[in-house]
Subunit: 253 residues, 3 copies
């Protein structure tokens, strides 16, 4: 472990090999950190809460947590978690591999998150959210959970595989965002979104099929499903699967 | 006082009994902290400003301030203040007891806040806001104050007792949000909201009486006023008063 | 240099005279800080990134950076930069003098910013944004850059001189916001905004000429261009130029 001089690390924490901990970062007791993990400065990792039922915070191998971030005990992340700065992550999240959480994002806990999910800056994930593999959520979007706030009858949002929610959307409780769909920027989504469609507006309405949106790179090729043209940061085996499933030989990356 | 080894605490600060101060937290001179208060790590408490007129920051008894929070001198909070992480609170706020301020919220100062007010995550309270008792404000909502920005003619928003503002709303300067009203998610509120009504939209329009919204727990009982069914975290004397005022024997908590 | 005892400052950083560095702040190697600069506590200054092409972070004279802020290497700021708390500023920003960045704002890098620009709290500036002199952007506004997210074909927003974007707006990629225009609160801007006009709504539409908005101070004078009545914080030579260009003798500051 490469521990900065001022970091404070509990002897009870389990820390893998080749881990780097930044200055002024605190690692508390109930934490399991994998191998090859970097945690930058000014973080608070493993904050206790009675809501964790005593479960540890688990950070998978090859993860990278940027400065000023806060993680509670009781959540579990697979390999290659990457965060921006000052993310806040509460208890009882079960997340797969390759999750990216953008700067300022606020995960309220009690949620399920798949593999290769990407939250950009300042995304708010309410409790009881269910987010499937390869979902993208863009800045300032909020997934809500209370149909008549304040109440105790919470019902989460479900976002299905490959769906994209653009900036500054508010998704109402219980809504299902369909596979490979696109929610346009600044939308209030009150009703379920059909797979492979585009919705937008306040309230959001059907705009067109996702495949009708064209790339603005001069090619006039369809922009959705986005897996045809956007491959940055995915491993070869994922891209190979997309190449087998989609007609992507026309795309020029 | 239970002071972490790395906390930096001014000898001029007045600190009550049974106070706990986290690592890497700074407590500056002009601060009065009551008894049984916890301040977590990485906070900056009592930041000086000429706009405070020399008044101290006062934090009441039994308060809990989570990590990475910033409070300026010159504001006063009653007992049982509770904050999320990384809240920013400026000068000249006068707040009652039992205020909750959610993670990332930004209180710009020069505001009045009653008792039992609850701000969820990432709420922005502009200067000159007046917020009465038992108000709820949900994530990413902004109370503005400048009718023609930028200018020096600020006029605040007033939110009356028991009113609820849902996620991602923008309330324009000088607007009055009526008692026991509900502002639906993603609304732009330009005009006053009548008591016990629901408004929503961009711009917000009258939707129905608040009592017409039904609980989605299968009971079909009215969801508003919310005091009938939502009692979490309130003291017995408050709930007893609600029970005397409302017909709540049908509700099953 | 007035270095707090717990600050960590690289010997490779270039630091001017009369600089003050707060507790628990980290200054890394590739940083050039001018004279008379204050950097408060809990900051991370000069975060390395391969995207900087090795360029340093340059902070001009007479700057003031508030606590919990993060700056990457590879950006350049003129004199009199002022930030709120916990701003996040990435690489390859070229900014002029007198920039103000509000609390929680998130500048994603790869942007050009003029002189006397003011971002209020929680503004998100996407990559490839171009922001000219004297622009105001108010809280929770997002400048986007991806016309069909996710993609690699980013096109930034351009905001021209003296334009004002009010709270909670989302500006779509490639949009030009015209000189001296006003975007009303809670707007989704899909099309270019003509100079000296007001737009608002989701999607934003033409409302009126900017000069038709009247000050709400009882004077009934035009509120725009705002340089007639709003002079707080500008140097005398700037105000003198405005006085020569506009008929402002009727305004009472």
């Amino acid at each position: 472990m490469k521990k900065s001089a001022t970091a404070i690390i509990s002897g009870k924490a389990s820390i893998g090999s080749n881990v780097s901990i930044g200055d002024f970062t605190i690692i508390l007791d109930n934490v399991i950190i994998g191998d090859n993990v970097t945690i930058q400065s000014h973080c608070l990792i493993g904050q206790p809460t009675p809501l964790s039922d005593g479960k540890p915070l688990v950070i998978g191998n090859d993860s990278f947590i940027r400065s000023h971030s806060i993680f509670y005990e009781g959540s579990q992340f697979g390999a290659k978690l990457t965060t921006g700065h000052r993310v806040t992550v509460r208890e009882k999240i079960e997340a797969g591999d390759n999750l990216q959480i953008g700067t300022l994002s606020d995960l309220q806990g009690h949620a399920k998150i798949g593999n290769f999910v990407r939250f950009h800056s300042n995304v708010h994930i309410g409790q009881k959210s269910i987010i499937d593999d390869f979902v993208f959520i863009f800045p300032y979007t909020v997934l809500t959970n209370d149909p008549h706030p304040p109440s105790n009858f919470l019902t989460g949002v479900t976002v299905n595989k490959y769906a994209v929610i653009a900036s500054m959307c508010c998704i109402l409780p219980g809504v299902q965002i369909g596979e490979k769909s696109l929610v346009g920027a600044c939308s209030l989504v009150k009703n379920d979104v059909e797979p492979e469609t585009v919705v937008a507006g306040v309230p959001a309405k059907f705009i067109c099929k996702a495949s009708e949106i064209k790339l603005k790179d001069g090619s006039n090729l369809p922009a959705y499903p986005w897996m045809r043209h956007f491959h940055r940061g995915y491993p070869k085996e994922v891209i190979d699967e997309w190449m087998a499933n989609y007609n992507i030989q026309d795309y020029n990356y």
